[in-house]
Symmetry: C2
């Protein structure tokens, strides 16, 4: 089935939290989710970082849940007053927020002490949602419609994703190939354009790097069709050689991006 | 003037590039821009990561330029076919894209060789735009209306920002204070809620951490009013102590975020 799957399944990530937008914390979930989704045949098409403002969260969830096949959120599901993701997602769907015995039970498996007010808050789940297990710290996420609500902690988010593996609708998986060349991008540009025009179904990206005072670029090809990807790679390799640019074999050198 | 400035000036960052959305490259610009903007009295209110798809870039620029006082973009201003930010911003404003002698001159200061096709591409600037100098590698960004188009390379982006320092409309600057406590968030939650309710103009965020198998949380207070911030900090400190939670003095311990 995977061989003949030509459907594009899209996703959007909402990163919820003032701590990201203020620069206090650097997001680590986008990169991980992007790669994980691609393994599942889903394309991360957009990500948004939004503040802990209820009206913004509600409006954004409403907008993106109709634009993308799947929405994933990270952050804002803890026990304190600033954790408002669950209530906002509930409101976006017009669903009431209810105390979930199942969520409370999962939450308390790893905790000592009472089911206090903060913990009860973490067990408030929109009506009709299914729980996402949290094998790390107990407190579950949930799925409501096409929206998947997860923790902001990378360790917890990654564990929650694992519990979803294989359960999502699978579309085309994008395959990637790369060529690394020590040459200025502007000199390779006409060659890249020509090959890109011949392979409109293969996205060719050019990402410059610097290494030992030498400049070059990583040319990254992406396509859901492995045969077309291979053909474009061969074509690009020979077009570059013809134009006098010699691709490096194997891995790219350690590099920093330059522009 | 800064003392009596109560205006909120907002910004949105558009991170443009398939390499970020595919997980190949981890964005480093959001965190830097957020802190830089705060120094300038501007609040980063939203960030979006969008793909190298012209229709998406044009529509997003059109939307956010009316929603926020300032828009900043990073990525997509190089010499290759996949660098389409300038033409998309031009289209979003209905402005023609023109060859700029000034941009070409700045570009060529640091380059050897001819003004080839790819380099000419980097000198194509929307009509009416002002250039943003690039002290690192020459190729300029530009300002069109309230949209600031910058490079994706962190080094270049940061240098471009420095050339803008002091030139933007300055609003309230958000001040921050933090208390770090070794205690479970859920136990502190009622105390936090009480202080938050008493200080609705001071945002209180709770960010859990783990260190040496002990759990705690960083309580971060943010406000544009230094007096209110100080009062909320004092109140929170004494409310925590009253409830039996002893804030750590000085800096937080090395920690990882946990949820």
């Amino acid at each position: 089935m995977a061989e003949s799957n030509t459907e594009v399944v899209t996703a959007c990530l909402l990163i919820i939290g003032d701590e990201i937008l203020s620069g206090r914390t650097r997001d680590a979930n986008l990169t991980y989710l992007a790669k994980w989704l691609n393994e599942e045949g889903i394309v991360l098409r957009e990500a948004r970082v939004i503040p802990d403002i209820a009206a913004v969260i509600v409006a954004t969830v409403r907008e993106v849940r109709t634009k993308f096949d799947y929405v994933f959120t990270t952050g804002g599901i803890g026990p304190t007053h600033d954790d408002i993701t669950a209530e906002c997602v509930a409101e976006a769907f017009g669903a009431p927020l209810e105390f979930s015995d199942a969520a409370a039970a999962e939450l308390m498996v790893r905790l000592t002490g009472p089911l206090n007010e903060g913990r009860r808050r973490m067990a408030m789940i929109p009506k009709g949602a299914r729980l996402i297990k949290n094998p790390v710290s107990g407190a579950p996420g949930f799925i409501l419609g096409n929206v998947h609500v997860m923790a902001g902690s990378p360790q917890v988010m990654q564990a929650m994703l694992e519990t979803l593996r294989g359960s999502l609708r699978r579309g085309r998986k994008v395959e990637t190939a790369a060529i690394h060349v020590y040459a200025g991008e502007s000199f390779m540009a006409p060659t890249l354009s020509r090959v890109q025009n011949a392979y409109p179904d293969v996205a060719i990206g050019s990402y410059p790097f610097a290494h030992d005072d030498k400049y070059g670029a990583s040319l990254v090809l992406r396509s859901a069709d492995p045969a077309r990807l291979a053909a474009a790679l061969t074509e690009l390799r020979s077009a570059l050689a013809e134009a006098g640019f010699l691709p490096l074999d194997g891995e790219a050198p350690p590099h920093r991006a330059v522009s």
